[in-house]
């Protein structure tokens, strides 16, 4: 099997005083992806989605190889920066996907620019968390146990650079905001963008029973549980993840209507 993300090509946009890296693959309607607190990591879920869509996976300022970001003060600001990065690519309408911490960022971006976001996909979003939640931390083995339903099935990855991890952890700690953010939640009640919230049934970072809060708050929200997936759904069950995400991006709220043909012989 090829490495996840091999077909993706690197690009940069200069905007809002940052030089922002992104990885891009595929043709079709644009899907902008904002990563989780661990930084940009392409998965087989990205590969599968890139067969049908133009996937643009950003590395947000302060993550990965970018310099430490001491400037961005909160998530609305980070979301505004990312909206400018999308605009710099010439996209005025796009689908937006956010993972965990990136899910909360994506919600802010959608709340700021609802007319530009065609659909919103939130993979294990971190916008609503049980009181007292902490971002996962620990050795690579401990992190794998938190993130994946079956860590033993995930191919070994190069150990993360401690300097990058610490830089990212400081930024996330500063930006992640409260476990329940009344200001964001007030905005969500008016956010009519078709939204898909996904949780793995064995998420060990954010309990999957946080999912129903989004559905209760947002006027056009769908909740889907991905069976036997952990926090990193698109790594644990990429085919299941990509199938429902692609269907949702294509048909939005009409994705609930089955198109599966059951005729065995005509």
């Amino acid at each position: 099997m090829t490495q996840a993300g091999e077909a993706f090509r690197e690009g940069y946009v200069e905007t809002d005083g940052f030089r922002i890296r992104y990885m891009e693959a595929g043709k079709g309607p644009a899907v902008v992806h904002l990563h989780g607190a661990g930084g940009l990591r392409l998965t087989r879920g990205h590969d599968l989605l890139s067969r049908q869509f133009r996937i643009i996976a950003f590395e947000m300022p302060g993550f990965g190889t970018s310099p430490e970001n001491n400037r961005t003060r909160d998530l609305p600001e980070l979301a505004a920066t990312m909206a400018k990065a999308v605009a710099a690519l010439g996209l005025d309408q796009f689908n937006l996907m956010g993972t965990s911490f990136g899910g909360k960022t994506a919600l802010w971006l959608a709340a700021q620019h609802p007319e530009q976001v065609r659909s919103l996909v939130l993979e294990a979003p971190a916008a609503i968390r049980p009181a007292g939640s902490e971002p996962p931390a620990g050795s690579p083995e401990e992190m794998a146990r938190r993130l994946y339903a079956h860590p033993e099935r995930v191919p070994p990855m190069p150990p993360p650079d401690p300097a990058v991890r610490e830089k990212q952890a400081r930024l996330v700690a500063r930006l992640r905001g409260p476990d329940r953010d009344p200001e964001l939640e007030a905005r969500l009640q008016r956010l009519a963008v078709p939204t898909l919230v996904l949780f793995g049934t064995v998420d060990r970072v954010i309990p999957p029973n946080m999912g129903h809060f989004y559905k209760e708050l947002m006027p056009n929200c769908n909740l889907v549980f991905v069976y036997d997936a952990g926090h990193a759904i698109s790594t644990d069950r990429p085919e299941a993840f990509a199938e429902v995400v692609a269907d949702f991006i294509e048909r939005r709220e009409a994705f609930v209507i089955s198109r599966t043909e059951t005729v065995i012989h005509p």
Partner: protein, 359 residues
Amino acid sequence: MQVSYFETARYQVPPTVPAEWPVPPGAYDPETGAKAYQGMVDRVRHVEELGFDWVSLSEHHYSPRILTPNIAVSGSYIAAQSKTIKIAILGPIVSQSNPVQVAEEMAMLDTLSNGRLVFGMLRGTTNEYLTFDLNPAEARERTTEAMELVLKAWTEPQPFGWQGRHFQFRTVSVWPRPLQQPLPPTYSLGTSRESCEFSARHHIGLGVSFAPFEVVAKSTRYYRQECARHGWEPTPEQMLYRANILLAETDEEAHDLLEKQRSGPAAFPMRAGVRDALLKLDQRNVAGEARTPNVGGSLPTSFYGSPDTVVEQIKRCREEVGVGVLDLAFQNPGAPDTGRLMQSLELFAEKVLPRIRDV
């Protein structure tokens, strides 16, 4: 110790009917069927009066042996004909059911029966894989996923989609919910490592069946270990044991009857070629140790003898297996009608039941 009476409808099979599973439906006699179901209702009322705690039912197909292919229909009819006894559905074969429909039916039954449902989820005996064309290689995984989906359908407050391996639904939003909240007494039924781990993870009970004490004790032990690992301790009532019982006035009489039964027909005998092919494909285990599935073999009788002997056996079962509920399949060997069975139930209620309450 709580006691459940396992009801199978007791269709009286004439000796001319072939034993092989599936049994030809042309051999079915409507009058005998009607009589069987009337008898079922009579026995349920009788065991309710005698002080049994539960009546249990189990899903089986294509045979007169256990004539309750639809347990929602059977369970709700019994519930309507009784007042206080718990209706133990042990259980639907979730591997080959629509789990959302199971959640709906069982929630409805719990509510209609005023909170008398006891609910167990089954993978199904090996022969049942043929009933709805279930691939044996998928049976284990489908069972685990279906159980998880049933529980989700009962607990999730908002409509949701299910992106499973074997089940996929874009919209699940079950009404009604069970009357007993947060869950009716719920069990996964099986001796396997997977059943034990699932039950422990979801804080539900474990139901084991038919194998001897030392075998099922491996499962209950492993289940308790797994519960401890998940930070909780099950009550004895969360472990149930379905077993055959042959009760008689004396040990000698019970022994004679047991001998007669040993030469009797097996549970679901199948054509050798099909049986052997299934045996190769059906992977089963007891708390992780591989075991051969029982296809067409007879089942052991764990409790047999006089009331005194049976009381001692039940005490030993409590000590060795740890279960707090016995689900008893009363044997009626060689009897052309159910008269002897009724006597055996009365004998149990009079001479065994009062002496095992504190066990």
